[in-house]
Symmetry: C3
Amino acid sequence: MNAEQNNNQPGDSRFFDKSGPYSLEKLVKETGAQLIPAQSGKNIISELTAIAPLQIANSSEVSFLDNKRYLPLLAETKAGVVIVSPAFADKVPSDTVALVTTNPYLAWAKVANLFYPRTQAKAGIHPTAYIHPNVKLDPSIEVQPFAVIMDNVEIGKNCIIGAHSIIEQGVVIGNNCRIGSHVSLSHAVLGDRVTIYPGARIGQDGFGFAVGDEGFVSVPQIGKVILNHDVEVGANSTIDRGSVKDTIIGAGSRLDNLVQIGHNVQMGKCCIVVSQAGISGSTQLGDFVTVAAQAGLIGHIRIGDRARIGAQCGVMSDVEPKSDVIGSPAMPFREFFKNVAFLRRLVKTSGTKEKK
Amino acid sequence: MNAEQNNNQPGDSRFFDKSGPYSLEKLVKETGAQLIPAQSGKNIISELTAIAPLQIANSSEVSFLDNKRYLPLLAETKAGVVIVSPAFADKVPSDTVALVTTNPYLAWAKVANLFYPRTQAKAGIHPTAYIHPNVKLDPSIEVQPFAVIMDNVEIGKNCIIGAHSIIEQGVVIGNNCRIGSHVSLSHAVLGDRVTIYPGARIGQDGFGFAVGDEGFVSVPQIGKVILNHDVEVGANSTIDRGSVKDTIIGAGSRLDNLVQIGHNVQMGKCCIVVSQAGISGSTQLGDFVTVAAQAGLIGHIRIGDRARIGAQCGVMSDVEPKSDVIGSPAMPFREFFKNVAFLRRLVKTSGTKEKK
Amino acid sequence: MNAEQNNNQPGDSRFFDKSGPYSLEKLVKETGAQLIPAQSGKNIISELTAIAPLQIANSSEVSFLDNKRYLPLLAETKAGVVIVSPAFADKVPSDTVALVTTNPYLAWAKVANLFYPRTQAKAGIHPTAYIHPNVKLDPSIEVQPFAVIMDNVEIGKNCIIGAHSIIEQGVVIGNNCRIGSHVSLSHAVLGDRVTIYPGARIGQDGFGFAVGDEGFVSVPQIGKVILNHDVEVGANSTIDRGSVKDTIIGAGSRLDNLVQIGHNVQMGKCCIVVSQAGISGSTQLGDFVTVAAQAGLIGHIRIGDRARIGAQCGVMSDVEPKSDVIGSPAMPFREFFKNVAFLRRLVKTSGTKEKK
């Protein structure tokens, strides 16, 4: 195998263990979708063997359509089964079974998890790992090569501690957590089912210093980081611990790669922070807030529940619940795009005039 | 303890060793602040046991107010002592002692450092560390698990070399430096009291290549990285070594997390570079320059002393000393916000007209 | 040696092994440049001993001029030989030999590679490394301290696997690759001569989840990462593996530090992605595309061959081949700067009027 031979076939057995096959009934049950048999009547599917994208799926495989950009691929698919929304049910080719649901991506997630169930912890501590004698580790956990677990750490059931990770003194980790490779984790308390991707830095002291006569004086940062249940933190992201309060990431929130979270940030439930976004110190986010890629929030502001911050947005003041903002400085979506369009038109018109 | 039980009490003993108690006199001496006894006369404090934020401090604890946003918290605080600026001295509750100073955050830094003094190196090399036989290490240094120290490295007194860090061949580290976990340090010379946070990458070759007929040709990068005294480099930040000159970070400068410094950048004393900002190759910063979060500077420009570059600013040309710029492309603060306001007003007015 | 003694002399022997000396003829042959002898006739150079920047090069050293900003340094250089473009050939001092070529930076790259040839792998596996018994490693490879190579990995000739790196199960690496320290590499297939800088995270599952009734549901990510021949990935950059397709970086493409590449991104040949830029999932780049620093591309769009995306640009829709765009939202370079200038002028004029 070499890099030039890219077959684009998903689920390469070098990397993935596939489960299945599964019956069509099982898929219907799992997704709650409505089954519409193939119009042609030809295709009597008993078992589905795999999942695949529309353009390469075959008659024993399941695919899905979530984004209308890819409608042309649906028309030509050879997939045995396709998960679609009601709006596109009539676009499914005649040899293909449709599984129709109002949330096709969620149904896809459920089907994909059937075929590729989450890897489970293989109980055991790799002989190269370093474990401090004074720790409280559930015997079910998997500790990978060269991981380091320091004094007074507590780790719950079925956790995986990745290669080269360090769990510093006193850290508490709940059940079913996955700590990727090369993670630094200190001054932190984690709930259950927390996932941390490789290279994330969690719990270091934040950017806190006073300006003295002879340079900067560091302020001791004596808060923690709290990652509640089901939080995910992306690769190479950084979360500073609190200064005198804690930095808190609410249950179910997901941070993408290369995200920065300053000290004392408090984030509600099920927030989404996309890659390379940054949230400055002491800013508070409500529940279900979305912060798109490369957006930046200054410190000490409040973002209301279900607010959406657009990509590259620069937020300098509080944002109301449910509002959509974009631009730097942030303004309502509609206003931002109106301003952009207005200026472009104005400049063009003016240019025309000048030429005359 | 679990993630849901978040009491927000700072200085959790799982993670922090507290010093003290300290007398009120000691705090006055340390900070140089003016003592104003509690108006009620009730509260005769002999000893302060801890520091805490306004909303949870009790009568034997010290707190502070630095940001007027939090004035409502001052009114309700039960803290025994509060550090405040003269402007807010009369807002301190009647049972609370005021320590009044023109730089309350600096006073707070000093008090916090009393209660939570900096961790000291515990002399010794962890048995799992790999040390090349040809090195010059002061016996006072602490080397943590799985650290790697290569050929011809020199390390001064009282340094801490974090777990899984690698100090590559020839690197020179001064006294009292702290290298966090998972740091890569190569082609570098460090002064004293330099602090590097986890996952920083320092000294790799920069993005230097020529465009040839058959693709890109790398240009050997034969400079170093110089980190002068008291420099701090944040978590997962990257500093490329010089191409033919050196990349230099001036004494006392502080870089936050996820900052990028290109090859040959020269930065003066006590600069501040906030998280996710990037400085392109060969750009020069004077002393006391501030680069706010997510700002970007192109290469080969000069930023004058005490200039301030706003968040998300895109700097494409030289910046005068002491000037404040923001926007992309960068312009003076005043002008930027005037332009934004003007356009918003213009569009609104125009909209009104169109409707009429 | 300490950090304060910065002599700015390149090629410090603590860090670099120099080759040479080389004759002038050798340089001419290597670069294909036209030799113009020193006008003064004084300087008969037989051998060149080193390379150096204009301001410190001496009469036995080679330097170059690539950026006209540095013309004043050319006038005063003491370099024995300077590589210049035809436009500046007559600016070379009278004691200095000129090597004239239309691509001086490429010539410089070739000369610098003569004096500082690429480090070669020193065959051998460090005794502290952990190697799974079931692997296929060419005996010529160098494996540094604490590296981890897991089950079923294949590595070709003359590769270097850096300290603390982890090569996860099934990964395939071609010949002459360099994996820096602290790299996480999983679910990936690499061509030949691929270089990965310290701390890069390659192959983790991307930001893929569906919104369910009780929070987010992760979608298994079952694609790979393909890094074709001669790809370079900068320090602390992150490349997520594909969801159902693969994430593909085309031959010769170079990614700088702290770059984010989302799942399913497909990038053509010889693209350049400068530091802190981010490309969202499923976006496709043609060949020779340049994405400047801190630019962001949304998902599911197409960027044509040889397009150039400016720094901090926010790209929300397809970009035509060979076009230059900048701004957020992206627009043609000319239009962007025209709009900026127009608004600034308009506000100034308006201000004048108001005062009157």
